[in-house]
Every structure is written in structure tokens, then in C-alpha cells.
Symmetry: C2
Subunit: 887 residues, 2 copies
Amino acid sequence: MSKKYVYLFKEGNADMRSLLGGKGAGLAEMSNIGLPVPPGFTITTEACNEYYESGLDFPEGMLGQVWASLKVIEDQTGKEFGSPTNPLLVSVRSGAVFSMPGMMDTVLNLGLNDTTVQALVANSQDERFAMDCYRRFIQMFSDIVMGIEHYEFENVLVNTKETLGVKYDNEIDAATMRGVVEEFKKVVKRESGREFPQDPKEQLVMAIKAVFSSWNNDRAIYYRKINNIPGHLGTAVNVQSMAFGNMGGDCGTGVAFTRNPSTGEKALYGEYLINAQGEDVVAGIRTPQPISKLKEEMPAVFQQFVDTCLLLEKHYKDMQDIEFTIERGKLYMLQTRTGKRTAPAALRIAVEMVNEGLIDKNTAVQRIDPAQLDQLLHRRIDPNASVEVLAKGLPASPGAASGKVVFSADEAEQMADDGEKVILVRMETTPDDIHGMVKAQAILTSRGGMTSHAAVVARGMGKPCICGCEAIKIDYAKEEFAVGSRVFKKGELISVDGGTGRVIAGEIPMIDPELNDDFVTMLYWADEIRTLGVRANADTPEDAEKARAFGAEGIGLTRTEHMFMAQDRLPVVQQMIMSDTLEEREAALAKLLPMQQGDFYGILKAMQGLPVTIRLLDPPLHEFLPNIEDLMVEITTLKLTNGDPEVIKKKETILKKARALHEFNPMLGHRGCRLGISNPEIYAMQVKAIFYATAQLIKEGVDAKPEVMIPLVIHAKELQVLRDQAAAIAEEIKVETGVDLPVSIGTMIEIPRAALTADEVAEYAEFFSFGTNDLTQTTLGFSRDDAEGKFMHYYIEKKILEENPFVSIDQTGVGKLVNIACELGRKARPNIKLGICGEHGGEPRSIEFCHNTGLTYVSCSPFRVPIARLAAAQAAAKERSAAGVDK
Amino acid sequence: MSKKYVYLFKEGNADMRSLLGGKGAGLAEMSNIGLPVPPGFTITTEACNEYYESGLDFPEGMLGQVWASLKVIEDQTGKEFGSPTNPLLVSVRSGAVFSMPGMMDTVLNLGLNDTTVQALVANSQDERFAMDCYRRFIQMFSDIVMGIEHYEFENVLVNTKETLGVKYDNEIDAATMRGVVEEFKKVVKRESGREFPQDPKEQLVMAIKAVFSSWNNDRAIYYRKINNIPGHLGTAVNVQSMAFGNMGGDCGTGVAFTRNPSTGEKALYGEYLINAQGEDVVAGIRTPQPISKLKEEMPAVFQQFVDTCLLLEKHYKDMQDIEFTIERGKLYMLQTRTGKRTAPAALRIAVEMVNEGLIDKNTAVQRIDPAQLDQLLHRRIDPNASVEVLAKGLPASPGAASGKVVFSADEAEQMADDGEKVILVRMETTPDDIHGMVKAQAILTSRGGMTSHAAVVARGMGKPCICGCEAIKIDYAKEEFAVGSRVFKKGELISVDGGTGRVIAGEIPMIDPELNDDFVTMLYWADEIRTLGVRANADTPEDAEKARAFGAEGIGLTRTEHMFMAQDRLPVVQQMIMSDTLEEREAALAKLLPMQQGDFYGILKAMQGLPVTIRLLDPPLHEFLPNIEDLMVEITTLKLTNGDPEVIKKKETILKKARALHEFNPMLGHRGCRLGISNPEIYAMQVKAIFYATAQLIKEGVDAKPEVMIPLVIHAKELQVLRDQAAAIAEEIKVETGVDLPVSIGTMIEIPRAALTADEVAEYAEFFSFGTNDLTQTTLGFSRDDAEGKFMHYYIEKKILEENPFVSIDQTGVGKLVNIACELGRKARPNIKLGICGEHGGEPRSIEFCHNTGLTYVSCSPFRVPIARLAAAQAAAKERSAAGVDK
């Protein structure tokens, strides 16, 4: 006996997705729970794969099983395939495991020919309907199966309507439609060199082959490539008896969601058309009716539909997106699948389903796509604002912004420097535009996809971006773009919504992100489930408070250099850097000490006893000096214009120092703990500031838990030296203040050598915090500033990298180092605290990685804390599900 | 019975070094092979360690064993310790496993007191001798054992000589010397509060304790720290009966080498003094006689000494450095150890000993210090030139150079830019001086040690350097330095010899390195022994020929960018870079193609069928454009001086491109295979050039084996794409030329991610070449250009890093990655070729690492090929010895 290649719907179920495809498994499941599904069968994905393996031959026995299954359907429907009196007509649809645009979609009404169409005329008592079915079938079959261009048929229809003097297809009468059918058959003969196939069995065989072939057409291959769908999965073929929604006033077709996909409200949401086939709803010839109207028009059918929806939701335990057809007052279910929804709807539906007892919290947290929540956490356009949408492009980077239109990067930079908010509008961007992109509020391009230069760079910068907005026609020479009949000149205001791709006229009110009740509930559940801690990165007391409000359990990274950059401090910092002697430098540091102490006091106080990881100075000192190029131009100008010699001399001194400090690769230069090694006095000042602030707070009765973090360590001895110094200072301050200070000293792991020797490093570290930004830069040899501007987009476009490794952690490379470091670190110090404070700490897939690696916490920007909490819960839930702990 | 803590010399042997220390084991060995060694015994290192463990108490039973051993010596010598008539006198010396300056060295004549000294007077019939022995003993014992400052005694001597009106100690008569002894005893009383110990046993106990204590004095600890000698080894104590070389004309003392340590000639080499103790030879009071003179003065003793030397050399199978004493015509051997020698002597001795059948080749190659050979492979001062040595400093970086003296980095840069050769002379250097160091021929500092900024930076640059030359007094204000009575002004010529530390007046003729016969023989043997291949890095046919002459077995790295920099090509390269379209760029590349083809033709031809690894373009494109700062100053100047607007515009266009290409961290930027990914046409041109050149040579009957190396790979997919492109081009050229081209394509492993995913990468690579320069930069996060100029010296000085990791490979960090990559690479492709082409390929310890890791070859600069061949042989020999393969 040959292998089983064909499954009747009643033989399958929802778990057989990989064999029957998504659609086939869904139809089988619905059939099995007793829903009214037109009978049919599915040819398996295995058959498709064997078809390719054998060099485009059907596997042995497959066709026999097809005919046998067709016989079953004939028996069930009481119709017969090719019968001149009561013909069975079928639809043929592809059905891959993952829904794939680009593959053959649907051929309806298969089985019609010059003979069977007459039976349809007789049985429906409606020649126009029958002829219309036939001409649709010829058109679809010829286009999809025989490869004849669609417009050949459209030409015939257009000419016919012109001759008749009518506008819509449905105004063509029966007799004329008969003529159209004849014309269509002529087109087929002319274009393919053969008659339109009249044998229904031949039609079916051709259609099955066409579905199989569509698995490997260029569009499908491309789609699989960009969506990482393996090519070996193959597609299934679904053959199903037709149900006609277009046989009269007691017929209809529609689509519905079991809950509102926009708000999440628990109410049927959808629309239908009386006397129509599926494609008509989309074609927009008539306006569909809201689903509630069906209650009036067909109360019994409506009730049956409502019951079915309830059943399906209960069965699938999720909101469903349903297609149905009504044939002569009888309801048929054609498809059900999990419905797509907005972020607020996703939250509301999940929360309500838990409250209804339909799902548990574990399931609920897994229902939310954290990336989708991102929209809710960015500044966005006030939903109550009335907006004039000019065009829609690809939503390449979320967030919204308003600004003046500008067409060149130079101009964007200049206007931004003059204090204007600008939107940079380009056909596409190149590395030459980076300086303008940096200064723009948002980027809008008319060409390029989600992985174009503009898209990759903007996402890297966290800036709103819309790409490939082809509706806008840019004229650089005139400095304007046209969209439809409107023209926008340089300087005119527009707004862009990077989360939806909408380009909007004028300036639009924005709202700051906030958490609604559903969101808060969901996060509360997430906190119950997750085991991974969530902290925030914050450099000011304000940020620290925001972080706490969003649920952060501590500060994972406080960057002290931002404090050095403050306007009132920079001169002191520069004085420190320009010092020729240790004494001068220490004098300047003494001035900085109370300021830093104040900084730490504020942040520690805001966190009220939650741990605050403070990173000692990290950037190279030259970052605090003026730019060399600027200085050189200034000096040249001063000299040529007889400037004050004193001023020139002073500038030259600064230039000399800046030159001496200048580095070829500052990322790999004299920074981080290397400063601590060469200039111990700088770190000494910072450590003093930390512990004086702590002593002060504890005396005031406020709990304070600083964690001193030493950056850029590559060798255990560096840490040993710096740790000893810090510990000694803490000891002195303990004695001096009489306060029992909590002392915790650790390091960042952000250079491969530290990860590779983490066992040695751990001897001197109470905690590791993975600085995955720098670790990615060094492990991949990618300078982020350079990569994202100059060559990352080639890597994404050419699929060399699946994703920007600065956005989602590179698990194979960087992840391997993190794993090595965790293992070695724990071996040397079993209770070591392990965290991550790179930006990856707020990215869901990276968070899952952190959970799986067994980190103690992730730390991310305050606004991403909710996403991190949810993603951490999902990782835990997933793990529990996999382990079977989930009930 | 208690543990054995004391070994008579005749109870020990050379293999007991760790228990008896180096000196004790040597004395035991000599005693055992029947040489005339004054009898004595050794207290073990274990006793020393237990002394510390027990809190400074002698281990139980140790003293008893000391007295018992002393008894044996009394019996052997017929003398008695403390006897008023025939007293035994002994020397007490420390003797660690490794010779350690800073520890207690020697106390002679122990056992003398007010009574025994009278016996010495009587027995020697020489009161002056006896009193001189006694005062020397008091002086040494008080200084070393009792901690009384040496100058206290020197004062007495100086005053005495003044009173007497004489100049030298030996002019002090017996009576006065008796007075000196009394004065010395008073000094002891005054300084220590106690009488000088008269009990010989007490003296011995105190001396043993002093030796034990000296193990942990500051100087010894410091010495161990900087030489990585573990503190738990402990020191032994040697107690030996005195032999007196100063008892008259039939007495004497001397030192000798069994072969000439300077040239290696097989002839006794040394000197002696009649009627003197060891210290007199060093003190330079009288001029010692050459050893050959002894033949005339004491023919029998001389013959005995010659025989002894032959015996010792034969016994130790190496050139010996010997100390001896003649007491009343009887020869005593006091010490023998392996003699230090110059590089040429080392080569000659090793080669001749193999020819004499004394050692095998395996041993011979291990006798040569590759670092020492370095001297022979640098340009050096013609040994036949007569030189005026002004001063000597620390030999901080080898090589020699002549140039004009200059005292500031700015001036060094300016003069060098004007075509002058300069020597930068500074008290010490700082990061501010880097630009001048780069341009100077050599660096000379008056302060700082072997790990000072100047030393570390110069070694990194491979530039001659002398540090800490305190004899030169620098006056920056006057722009001159004084040395003794001579003064050198700015612009005067000097020469420096970094290999010896000699500062020399004037310009001196230099000679290029060459290999003498011994060197050639040694390398020939090395090649027989080594298993690791040795290739050279060469970018021109001339370098390739030099490499072959030095024995390279192929080219491990040809850098194609140097070819792009040539004067006639740079404009074409710039034209390529400035191109706005692919067509323009391809037109420029078409012009470069024949030039590159010519380059490759030359190198491949020079190597005559040996493999040549050609690295495709590696540096970022902006390296080929003018400097941004220069352009800005030029443009500013042109504008302010009403320059030609056309010129300004052109410069601005270049500036714009340079800005667009400018990178924050070029090391981590758009370079290497990233250029191949973004601009496939560049690599395509290079690959064409390689295979056209190969085809051309093969047609001409010349064997050619190019290996195409793709740099900076981080991901298997990059290599897959670029390999496919290169292989396709090779295939096309095969078809076009009809030549069966050898195609080998591989990659550099120089970024951590490539090492971590080497199994995936190996699928597309026939070979890996470890670019350990870049791998060190990324693994340590050290930009070499910045680290060596700015902070490396802190790391070396503070001993955070043992050594500059760009000089000797960081085995713990970088080495771990290399090991991971080798393992993964071999797993995926068992026959993968593994090489290294970083500068480490020429450094002995790194070469040993490469051998142990199982690499196929190392590649280094042509001049280091001989060192690499030798070091590779040493690694193999060491491994064979360890495995017991060595006979």
C-alpha cells in the first residue's frame, strides 16, 4: 500500500499543521468539532516535497487517493465531479505551514466546463450567475494555473462594458456574459496554444501541480528568504466543495472577528455582503454591511454564526478571524485563524480571557508581542487629533515626530543647529547623509524597504522612520515633494508616524506613553511569573524615579560621565584634564567631588534602598575637550585675520593637549578602567563621592545600596588593583563617618578577554554586568557608530546577518562569550550576581537569551522596563511550558 | 628520627637542585666527580620553608644535623671549629634554586674570633693576613648578619689610611690592622649594643638565620616578583671550609670560562690573581693575569686546572664559568656554572660541541636564545668601526641608528619631515611625544627603565632605544646634553646601539645583518627538528626573495593595499573611491587590474611554486584620501585669501567624500571583507589579477601557488558569498585561458566572532590564518596605535600585563580564542591549514605557543625568519624532551 498522501478533513486535526498546512489543519479541526464546513480533503506537504524530489512527478498512489477522496465528497454532497446534471464544483487552495503571500492562493469553481455550466444554469435558475462563475473560473485558472496574463481577460471585460455603456461587471447581462465566456476561451487558445481544458479531472490535476509549483516561484522563495522559512517544508493543497454565496438574496459571504481587533472589546466585529462571493467583499463594488445587520436580515443564521464563534473561541482559547459563506440560508465556515490585533486589543483580550477563565496568566503573558507594545511606549500621535494622512509607507522605525521638511542632509544639519525641528525627506539615504539623519527628528524616504540604509540606521538611532513611501514624488531641484495633487515645499510642516507608516500634513499633537489598566494588570501577572530581575539605566534622579514608576527593581547602570558633561562642570573637568601635575589635577578633582556626591545622593535617594550600580568614568578624556578640527579652523582664521596672540596661544595649548589625547580608535583606547590605572586619582574621587553620599543618606535614615562598577576590565589584575583602592577608600570613610557602609564592587564584562578569563576576574568581582554594546563591538569588530551608518545595511539586506546585532544580541557569537563568562564566573564565585546593562536588556529576544543563560537581571532604558518585564515573564512561561510545568 | 635537613656535599648531586639550591647541587656534583672541592654541607630549602612556616624557628633536629656534619668536615680537614690551635674556618653562602641578586651572598672566614685569629697568625706565619681576614669577617658579618651599615666600617678604614698617609688597604701594616679590628669591634658594640659574637657556633647559627631571612627581604621579593620566581621555593645554605688564596705567593684565586664567551673559540679564557681572595679580583686593586700566564707560574696547578675544566665541560656538556682558589699550591674548585655568552659565541659553541660529539643537534638548538639572535638580525654598528662610547644606558630596544640630536617631539617631527635623520633625546617620553618618536631614527632617554614609556613604545615600533642613560645631563633650555666633559648641541650627530645600550659620538658605519656559517649550520639543524612551517610576510618581489634567502617556505601574508599606495596608483585608487556610480568605479578598477596583475606576477614568480597567501584589500577606503584636517585648513586658507573658486570647490568635494568615509573607529570600521560585501567589484578585480597572473606564469612554465585570503571575516555567510564570487572568477579564467589553475581560498581569523564560530567559517575556508595583531586588538579592546602610545606602559610598569601583548601573544586570552578556533576549525574540516601572520609569528614564546597549538606554520617579517626557524625547532625539541623522545 502506498503512503497516505491525502487526508479528508475529518481525518485531520489542528496538531497536523506540518503535514496538512495551516489552512488544512484548521479546516480539519473545524470539521471535527462539528462545524458546518463544506466537505473536502488536503493533499499533504510530504506529497509536495516528494513531487520535487522525484523531478516534478506526483508520488506513486497520490492521484488514486485524490480520486478516492473526491468520491467520498461526491457521496457527502450528493453531487458528482463533471456530472452534466448535478456537478460537484470545488475550490483549490494552497496551504503552507506558515501563511505565505506570493504563493498560489485560490482557484474557485473548478469543475466547470461547457457542459457542467449548463447544469449550474438549470440548478440555480440563474444563467447570469452560472456564466459569471464560469468566466471567473476561466480567468482565475488561466491566470494562476496556465500563466496567462490577467490583463488579457480584463481587456475583454473593459471592451464589453464600453460596448454596453455600463460601468460595473454586475451590470453585464446573462447573454453578454455568455459572449464573454466565449471571448475568454479564445484568449486562452491564442495565448496558450490550446483549448481551455474541459475535463474536470484534468483541471484538478493541473491545479494541484500549479499549487506545488507556486511553492518555488521567485516571490515565494524571496518571501521565505526574508522571513527565514525553511524551503523543505513544502505546501499542502486543499480541495473543497464549493459553497456559493452568490446564488441569490438568501446567500452571502463575510468575514468576522470574535472580538474587536482594534479595541479588544468582547463583541462580534465584521462585515458581510448578500449575494456575493469572497472576492467581492474585498473588491469594494458594494459596501459591506456590519455583521450586526445580519441579525435583522437572517436571524437564524446569525444566531448559528454567533454560537459558532463562541464555540471556536472556546475551542482555540483565542480571538478568531473567521470567513464564512451562506448558501441558500445555510451557513458554511470556510476558515478560522487567530486574529491579528492592535497592542491595546491584545492586552484587553488577554486580560479579559483570564478573567473569563478561558486562559491562565501564563498563557496570557505569552499572547502579547512585546515588540508591539513598543508602540505604546513611544511618543505617539494623539489618537483624538484629527489628522490628514497624506500617504502610507513602510513603518520602518517606531515613534512619531513633527518638523519642517528638508531635502538634504547638509540643510538638515544646519537648520537643526539653528534650533529648527526638521524631517529629512530623501529618495533614499546613503552614508553621506548620516550627519543630517543624526540631527533630524525623523526620516522619510520614497524608496527602499525595511532593511534599507535609512531603515537600519534610523532603528539604530531609535528615530522614527518611514521608508519606501512611493506615493510621495520628490523633486530635489525644486526642493519639494508632491503627493497626489498636493505639494510640500522645503520648510513646510509634516508629521510622520513610524509605527504605522503614516505621513501626515502639518504639526500634530503628540502624547507621552502611559500604561492603561490592562497593561498594568498584564505587567503585574508578568512579575508573578518571571524569575529574571529588571532594572533600568538612569543617570539622573528624574530618570531613576521614572524607572521606579515603570517597575524597575534597581538601577543597573548609572553613567557618571554624563554628569561630567554638565555645563557648570565641563570647565572644571577640562581644568583637570589640562593639568600638568598631579597636584593641579587633584585640585580640580576636589572641586568635582561635592558635585558628584550630590549626583549620587540624588539617585540613591530616589531608589530608596534598591540597588544602584554606578559605573566609574568610562569615556576617554578627549571627549571632554573641544573638537580638533574646529580648533584648527579657529586658529587658522585667527592667524589670517590678525587675531589676539594671547587667544591664539591659549587655543594652541588646548589644541596641543587635544592632539596628545587624540586617538585613532577611541572605542579601543585610553578609557574605562585604563583611566583608573593611569590616573588613580580620578576613580578615587568618584568612589569617595559614592560613599560620602551613601553615609550621608544612611545618617538621614534613608537606605542606600550603591554598587561600584569598574568598566572595561580585561584582566583580573586591573580589577584587583582598582578594587583594592576602592575598598580602602570605603574603609576610610566608614571610619571617618562611623557609618557601616554597604560595599559591593564589581565589573563590566564588555571585552572578550574579560569573558574568556571570567574565572580569574570573578575573584575580585561581587557582580558582573555584561556591557553587550561594547561586547558586540569588540566581538564582531563592529564600531557601532560606523557600522550602522556605513555598512550594516548591506549585511541586513544581503541576509549575512539576520538582524542588527546592536538591537538583538548575536546569540551565536556574543552569546557564546556571555555563556562562557557566566559559567567561568559561577565556577569561581557561585553566588556571583550576573546582569546585563547594554541596550539589549530591553529587547525581547535578547531578554529570553538572558533568562535562558541564567542571568540575575537585565537593565534597560526606563521606557523599556515594561517590555522587559513582559519579555522576562514570557521567557519563564515558555520554559515552564517546555518543561511541562504549565497546566 | 627527624627529617634530613643537611646534606654533605658528597651526599648530593646535580639533580637535587630544588632541595639543595643551584650552588649546593653544583658543589655536590663537583665533589662527587672527584674534583678538589673544599669539604662542606648544604642546609636544604625545605629547612628554610619550615623555618618560615613555624614562625622563624629552625625545624626540629636541623641544628643537630649541622653540628654532626661540621664534625665530618672537621674530620676531613683535620681542623676543629673554634680550636685555639688549628681552627676550622668556613664560608656561609645562600643558594636558591635560581640565582637571585638581592639575597645574602657570602660571609667568609666564619669561625674567627679573638682566640682563633691567633692560631691563624701562628699557622700562616702572617699576622697581617690573619688580622685582615678577621677584620674582613667582622665587616661582612656585621653588615650582612647583624645589619650594621657598611660605611661605619669603611669610615674607620678611610681614617686609618689617612692617618697612615696611604692609599690602598693592602698598604696597612699588621699592627695597624690589629687596631682596625679593635675599632671594628667598637663599632659593633656601638651600633648593635652587643659585643661582636665570639662563639663560632653562635656565629654560624646567626649566619644561617640571616641567609634564611634574606629570602624575604624587600629586594629579594621584588626580584622574584619581576622575574616570576615563586616565593615558596626557599633558599638553601651552603657551609664550606675555607680555602685561602691570600696566604702567600703560592696562593691565588681566579675565574675562567672553558671557552671564549665572546667568540666561542675553544680555548680557556679567564684571569687570576696571586695571593688574593675572591673579592680582590673584582675590586680592581691589582690587574689580574690572563689564565694562560698560570701555565708559567704554576705549571702543575695549571695542568690540573685544564684537566678539571675539560672534565667539567664533558660532565656538564656545556661551557662552564668556574671559580677556583689555590691554597699553598693546592687547587680548590669553588663553583662551576653554565657560562653566559654572546650570540655568536653561543652559535659557535653549540655547533662545535655537536661536531665534537659532546651534544646532539636537539640539544644544540635549545642552547640558543632566539631573543639574543635578534641582535645579529638588526642593522648594527660595524664591529670594525672605531667608536667613541659616550655612555651606556639600558638596552631597551635593539638595532642601531645615527642621527642629529633633537630635544623635542615637535622638532623631531619637523626635521624628519624636512628629510633629516634625527635621534630624539628626552629625559623621559610621554604620550605627547609620540608624533616625534614615530619620526625619529632612535630614542634616547636619561631616565626610566626597561618598562618606561619610551622603552615600551620603541619596542612596539621596532625602533632602537636606550633608556635610563643617567650619564647624559639634558638641558632643554639650552638644547644640549652634557656627558662627562663633552657637550652635544641640537643638530650634532650621535649614534645609539639599542642592543648594547651604548651611546656613541658621531655617525658610525652600520652593517646589514647576515648569517655566518655557524648560524647557517644551526638553522639547518633547526629545520631538521622543527615540525612547524615558517613563512614570511612580504609585499614585493624583493621582500619575497629576501624571505626565501632567509629560508621562508612560502609567503604567509601579502598585503595588497601597499600596492594601492604606490605613487602612480594612488590617483587611480582615488578616482575609484570618488566615483559616484558603479560604472565609473569599474572603469577605475579596470585601470588598476593590469597593475595588480603585475604585482602578483612578480611575487608568485619570486616564490617559484612556494605558496603565496594574498590578502584582499583590508584598510578602509578613507586611508587613500587626503587628511580631513589638512583639507579643512587648506580650504579655510584658500577662502580667506581669495583662492581660485574652482580649486576650492574641488577640495570641498574631496572633503565631503572624506567626511562621508570618515570613521570614529577605523579599526572596527568599513574595511576588510566588509568592503568586499559592499563593493564586490573591488575584490573581483583583485581576484582577477591573482588568477590572470597565475595563468600567465603557468603558461610560461613557472609554478605558481596563490592562496586567496579574505580578511576580517566575522560570519560564515560573509565568507560563503565572497568565496563563491572568487571561485566563479577563477573558473571563468580557467575557461578563458585554458590553464588548470590551483584554487585555494581561505580567511583570516582576526575577530573574536570568527574564532568563536570557526566551525561554521571552516566550511568555506581551505585555510585559516590567525591575524593576531587585530585579534589582540579586539580581544583586549586595545587599539595598538593608542595603547602603545598612551597607556600600555602603565600596564607593563604596574605589572598588570607581564608583557606587551602585541609583542608576545597573550596566551591566556587571545591564545584561548586561537585554541577554540583551531579545535572548531579542525572539527569541521580535519585537513584545514592553520597559520599565523601577525607579528607574533616572529616571537619565540608565541612561536612555541603556535607549535603547541598545532598550527601548520607561522609567518613573520623576512628578517625574523631565522629566529622563527630556531624557535620552532626549540619548541619541537622541548616537546620531544618532555615526551622522553630525546636521547
